[in-house]
């Protein structure tokens, strides 16, 4: 073993002699791990906080029973249901005010009946003792933050009442970080005692949501079943957002791995001679493979750790933007501090090590298969690449025609990327062949031919560049197009000068009255809203008072000739694009809406409604109130003479004490929306930029490593009488040509990607389509970026070449045999 460590030493010392190669490997793996784990950290943080916010959403997603007339359910009714075979578990939930004034929610439950239907385990269980939970002095389960809040009360309890139990003792505090803050969970007996509600419950949770037996006759007038609202499932709504981020981070990971591949490939190729010596000294193939794997494992795990730290840092940097967009889009609340489970570190490490071993697989096999005596020769571009690329493209076309889910949309994108990556070397070769065909002089011939020779060793870096550029063009185009569409839409949609929301009906009345007295207010447009469930989807109903403000400005995607008149006179409705796509509704359909008096509604128009995750139906306020009496009113849009806006806002604030969020002028609403928009895509754009920089580094490192091999290829040309200065010029030109061609090919690819994003991914993820727009200025920028990174990448190797002494060039002959 000790003596064999000399083999590892011999292998590892290679990196000491080639620090740049090591740097490539480190940079590649570091950025791959960092970007991947960073985004995963964001996703996990978000998921964790959805769980945290709701404690156990899926439990609440089960139906429950409440009393029809009162808050409390007599316990006997629970027993009656159980003895009639109902799978219900009793709950008691009420707010209590602590001596210090803070309000906390007390939840009493019965773990014995609760456990019955739950076969899944979670963290709570491992430390849970049923008999301690059920026996004096009982237990109180709470989050660490709540425990901190309550500890003083436990240290210094009042003589009687909360938190003492009926026997005057203090219950055990049990801290668990899966619980929500400001909630105490305890046994029903203690909860009933503290709330002084003997034999009373507040909810009966149905353990089996498919249990559909009608209530026993004696209880039909007493209890009411409530089915959960599916829109509480934030996680489901935000899935598409996280999928977007994941897809982008996976791309970054792959680009990073490409760098790893070039480094590992080169390192192994350069050690062919070393392999021969090791064999000669009596190292077997298996031993060599073992030590090479050990080396890779060692390196990758060493690099993964700073990579994870960088990932953490990236996540912390992006978290404010991500949580802002999630809050804006979905109303999801993410705390701004990162809290990560241990699994994140493990999976990140595994990803890094696994990725490295995976990328090293082909070079390793190549190295072992190559006979020691046979020297490595330039492999050229295998035909299999083109064939596989074609097959992938074919699969992409099939998927585009057949798939209709979000996942298939992403798979389509992945296939497009893969086929583009596979086809790029062949395409470049074809283009250069064409150039070679038309070349006039012998130097030109050499120029083109040598460029072709360079495609194979540079292909991985060029593919990385292609990916980064096309992603940038695609995603950038989508975001930019969205921004334009969105701003235009806001301009139209926000036609009223002032928007206000009253605190209650009474205040709404007062405000309305007050407004009618103001001559500068040319129109008062009240609106109302209510929510309904349609096929288990939450739908928002909006009522407006028909007015020219809407008919003149509201942007419609599809409409009957007299939409707005129909809305007013025939109780017709308009729906947003999301709902139209989701339900497959079209103009002229008759809609049946649950809970309405009217049997059906004529669909007179479809409007775009960017950023809204929910379906929305717009109708006249009268129609809404007639059919849904529980409509919430109190929102107004006001048309005001423009120069009178500020004084009016001032007076309104003064008279009604309206807070900033209840009273907004048009500009404030626009600013707010645009700000939210920017933040929504800030994370996307930041990731985009990171991918591009990784690709630039990939190109740089490939060139750097290539330059040493180039020596033998350039030396004969030099020997034939081309000056070193010219050689450098040609090398640079050749490289810029390759980068330019790649960038040019990235444009159609980027357009294809942006097309997929706006017409497939967005529609499937968010429910709205965007017009497909393109931004040639952005392309030019990308071409310049490609040339710039190629230039930067080529600089160092070329300076080296320029400085080589003639003897060094002569070595090119000696080493080449």
């Amino acid at each position: 073993m000790i003596t064999n460590l000399w083999v590892l030493h011999a292998l590892l010392s290679h990196w000491r002699r080639h620090p740049l190669q090591l740097m490539t490997l480190v940079l590649g793996l570091l950025s791959a791990t960092a970007l991947w784990s960073g985004v995963q950290a964001l996703n996990q943080q978000a998921r964790h906080s959805y769980d945290q916010a709701s404690s156990q959403l899926e439990r609440l997603n089960q139906p429950y029973l409440v009393h029809q007339q009162q808050f409390w359910i007599p316990q006997v009714q629970y027993i009656e249901l159980r003895r009639a075979g109902w799978p219900v578990t009793p709950m008691l939930q009420e707010q209590i005010t602590l001596p210090a004034g803070q309000v906390i929610t007390l939840i009493g439950l019965d773990p014995v009946t609760l456990q019955q239907s739950t076969q899944q385990q979670n963290t709570f269980t491992s430390t849970f003792s049923l008999s301690q939970f059920l026996s004096p002095p009982w237990e109180v389960w709470l989050s660490p933050a709540s425990a901190e809040q309550l500890q003083p009360l436990w240290d210094n309890p009042p003589i009687q009442g909360f938190p003492r139990n009926p026997e005057g003792e203090l219950p055990q505090l049990r801290i668990n970080n899966t619980l929500a803050d400001n909630e105490l969970i305890t046994d029903l007996s203690l909860a009933q005692h503290w709330l002084q509600q003997p034999e009373q419950l507040s909810h009966l949770l149905l353990l089996d949501s498919h249990f559909n037996t009608p209530l026993p006759e004696s209880l039909q007038a007493e209890l009411r079943r409530i089915d959960p609202e599916s829109d509480q499932d934030i996680a489901r709504l935000t899935d598409s957002f996280h999928l977007n981020l994941s897809a982008l981070s996976l791309l970054a990971f792959l680009v990073g791995l490409m760098m790893v591949y070039s480094a590992v490939h080169l390192a192994l190729t350069q050690r062919l001679a070393l392999k021969r010596i090791l064999y000669a000294c009596g190292v077997s193939q298996v031993q060599l493979l073992g030590w090479l794997m050990t080396e890779l494992l060692l390196l990758s795990s060493l690099i993964a750790i700073p990579g994870l730290i960088a990932g953490y840092w990236i996540a912390a940097l992006l978290l404010p933007d991500v949580s802002a967009s999630l809050a804006g889009l979905y109303g999801a609340d993410i705390p701004p501090q990162l809290q990560l489970p241990g699994g994140w570190w493990h999976s990140g490490l595994l990803m890094a090590v696994g990725g490295t071993l995976f990328t090293a697989l082909v070079p390793l096999i190549k190295l072992l298969k190559q006979q020691p005596a046979v020297q490595h020769s330039n492999p050229g571009i295998p035909v299999i690449l083109n064939i596989t690329g074609m097959l992938c493209a074919l699969a992409a076309i099939c998927l585009a025609l057949l798939g209709d889910s979000l996942l298939s949309g992403f798979m389509l994108l992945a296939l497009i990327f893969i086929s583009a990556g596979l086809l790029l070397p062949g395409l470049l070769n074809r283009l250069l062949q064409w150039g070679q065909h038309y070349s006039g002089s012998v130097t030109q011939l050499w120029f083109w031919a040598d460029a072709r020779l360079q495609i194979a060793p540079l292909s991985v870096a060029l593919v990385a560049l292609l990916f980064a550029l096309s992603t940038s063009i695609g995603v950038g185009g989508m975001v930019e197009g969205f921004r334009l569409t969105f701003t235009g839409w806001l301009e139209q949609r926000l036609a009223a000068e002032v928007y206000l929301r009253a605190e209650d009906d009474e205040q709404a009345e007062q405000i309305h009255h007050w407004l009618t007295q103001r001559p500068e207010v040319t129109a008062i447009l009240p609106s109302g809203r209510t929510d309904i469930q349609l096929n288990n989807q939450p739908i928002e109903l909006r009522g407006i008072q028909p007015h020219a403000t809407y008919s003149d400005h509201w942007p419609l995607l599809a409409a009957t000739p007299n939409t707005w008149a129909q809305l007013d006179e025939q109780a017709a409705v308009l729906i947003n694009e999301q709902l139209a796509r989701q339900q497959g509704w079209q103009i002229g359909d008759w809609l049946h809406l649950p809970g309405s008096m009217q049997s059906s509604f004529y669909l007179a128009g479809i409007y775009s409604d960017y950023g809204n995750p929910k379906g929305q139906i717009l109708m006249s306020l009268d129609t809404l109130e007639q059919n849904w009496p529980d409509t919430q009113r109190g929102s107004f849009a006001l048309r005001v003479i423009p120069k009178a806006v500020d004084p009016l806002l001032h007076d309104l604030r003064l008279s009604f004490n309206l807070s900033g969020t209840r009273l907004l002028d048009q500009q404030a609403v626009k600013d707010y929306s645009l700000r939210l928009f920017e933040r929504t895509f800030a994370a996307t754009q930041a990731l985009n930029l990171l991918v591009l920089s990784v690709a630039a580094v990939a190109l740089f490192s490939s060139l750097l490593t290539l330059s040493s091999m180039r020596l033998t290829q350039v030396a004969p040309v030099w020997a034939c009488g081309v000056s070193r200065r010219h050689l450098v010029g040609y090398e640079l030109l050749r490289l810029l040509l390759l980068a330019l061609l790649t960038a040019l090919l990235a444009i159609p690819l980027g357009l294809l990607i942006s097309y997929c994003l706006v017409t497939l991914i967005n529609v499937r993820a968010f429910g709205w389509a965007l017009p497909w727009q393109y931004f040639p200025l952005h392309w030019i920028l990308m071409i310049l970026a490609a040339l710039g990174s190629a230039l930067a990448a080529a600089a160092l190797p070329l300076i080296q070449l320029a400085r080589y002494s003639p003897t060094r060039l002569l070595q090119g002959f000696r080493d080449d045999h």
Partner: protein, 217 residues
């Protein structure tokens, strides 16, 4: 010592199978030095690789101190090379990332038979004392080959296989290296099988074999 019987080997090339030799028979006795000559591409190097177990024979037997190399698996061959064989190629014999000293000790360390006294003696004989802390790329071609000889002999092999060890050196350097090689082989009683193009060098050996159209003469 080394006994080769009925050895056959062919290479597959894009133009079809190329037979290098068939029914090859020869032996090298203990302490004997044998030159192997022949035209370029006649299979001399391949023959050396076969004996070293670096390539597989198509047929035949290679007995090295009574053990059949052709019947061994990869790890057995590796062990054989480590303990019983020294191999010197025309060039690129050294581990570029290790110092001269570490290169010299490398195989002996692997074989767990490093004797510091013997190594010092070898170093002195080869005139490498001054060069010990250097790296291979800081050496001249002749110096590199001397280190290679040292590395091969430090592990006390019974048979030294050399593939044109002085082929990339100028005549003066080549003679110097060859003198050292032959001296050391004689001193240590190691058998030597050396591929060479040089009649002059071949004459300095005990015996000379020529490979011509797949046959030894």
């Amino acid at each position: 010592m080394l006994k080769v019987t009925n050895l056959a080997k062919s290479h597959s090339t894009p133009q079809g199978t190329l037979e290098l030799f068939r029914g090859l028979q020869f032996s090298v006795h203990s302490g004997e030095s044998v030159a192997l000559m022949g035209e370029s591409g006649c299979g001399k190097s391949t023959l050396l690789h076969l004996i070293a177990g670096l390539e597989d024979a198509d047929a035949g037997q290679i007995l090295l101190s009574g053990q059949d190399v052709t019947a061994m698996n990869d790890s057995q061959r590796a062990r054989l090379r480590r303990h019983a064989l020294g191999i010197i190629f025309q060039q690129l014999n050294l581990i570029p990332s290790l110092t001269v000293h570490d290169n010299l000790a490398f195989q002996a360390r692997l074989a767990k038979c490093l004797q510091p006294d013997r190594l010092t003696q070898l170093i002195e004989t080869l005139g490498l004392t001054e060069l010990l802390p250097r790296y291979p790329h800081q050496l001249s071609g002749g110096q590199q080959q001397r280190v290679a000889i040292g590395r091969a002999l430090a592990a006390r092999p019974t048979l030294l296989l050399a593939d044109e060890p002085t082929g990339s050196l100028d005549e003066q350097n080549a003679d110097q290296v060859m003198d050292l090689l032959l001296t050391l082989v004689q001193q240590t009683g190691t058998s030597l099988l050396m591929v060479t193009h040089s009649q002059r060098l071949a004459r300095r050996m005990d015996r000379c074999l020529t490979l011509h159209q797949g046959q030894l003469t």
